[in-house]
Symmetry: C2
Subunit: 172 residues, 2 copies
Amino acid sequence: MADIEEFVESAGLYFERLGLSRTAGRVMGCLLADTGEAVDAPGLCARLGVAKSSMSVALHQLERSGLVERYRPPRARRDHYRLTEDVFGRAFRAKMTEFAAFAALAEQGLDVVGDRPAARARLEHMRDMYAFMAREFPRLLDRWDAERTDAARRPDGSDTDGPHRLRPPTRL
Amino acid sequence: MADIEEFVESAGLYFERLGLSRTAGRVMGCLLADTGEAVDAPGLCARLGVAKSSMSVALHQLERSGLVERYRPPRARRDHYRLTEDVFGRAFRAKMTEFAAFAALAEQGLDVVGDRPAARARLEHMRDMYAFMAREFPRLLDRWDAERTDAARRPDGSDTDGPHRLRPPTRL
DNA sequence: CTAAGTGTTCGGAACATTCCGAACAAACTA
DNA sequence: TAGTTTGTTCGGAATGTTCCGAACACTTAG
């Protein structure tokens, strides 16, 4: 423990379960804890010991899922990469679309199931529950943002609870 | 479209993205839309065309994740399987543990990262946000249950909105 | 006690995915 | 424009996963 290498590897595992590739997860680990703000592809290749082709697809993956953005510093020859402004908000929003997808799956089931009442009730329950979650989850995000800025306005700790009040609202 | 076979296959894909195996996902599709309440392993094997060994591990997977439960009807020789009482609630709760896991990952990062302020702020943000979600998500489930039973008490449509009021609260 | 039936475990085959190195395309410099 | 650097794409090797069939426990009926 207490080893950065292990953290990067753990991040690889964790983000892999989210549907990314292993190396993409390791890149996330590097961007989160190890490297500074501005990294380039060759640096990440050397850091993780992977070919630049693998790094290319991994970075594309991260870019398309909105977790990482690419930018070109003025007068620079190569692209640089950094975490998106609101990485975790995007990750949560991805979860939300997952909920919507399951609601759609239930809808598809309702289209093909006959009139057996038990199955219909089951699928309607599934559809409504996932739709409810897809609808309410963004509001949870809003609440998080609200409490966060609220804690920033009163950094004396006068708000009630939650660990999120302990820090200023640094826009990571 | 409008084909049960396609729905079962879609369910296989969708639940596969949740970490289950493909056949386990197909079994979920069958239990959701196709088969009746009580199915046995040989029936599912014939229905999906898989070996009974694969079905055994798939059903174990579903049982350990709490989506399916096994029971033995009185005087029956073989086990039967059905969806858990609160399948989707359990699925959501699994998501919640995923949030907690990511909070723990951030904590691990805080243990190994030095005192670079940017990285610390990033990881603290990550930890607090995921902890917030892990904490608040169950309350969303509670709200769902509350509105659902509320809609059941007043099935005249006097509650405001949401598709969940359209059905009686059949405990699937 | 014997035999039939049910469920699990294991080794190997089939399958899909990931990754690397090399070839390719594109952009910038001189 | 020629040459260099950066980034992407592609075929093949390697890795990991899933599935099947067979062998193995365990239970129950007769």
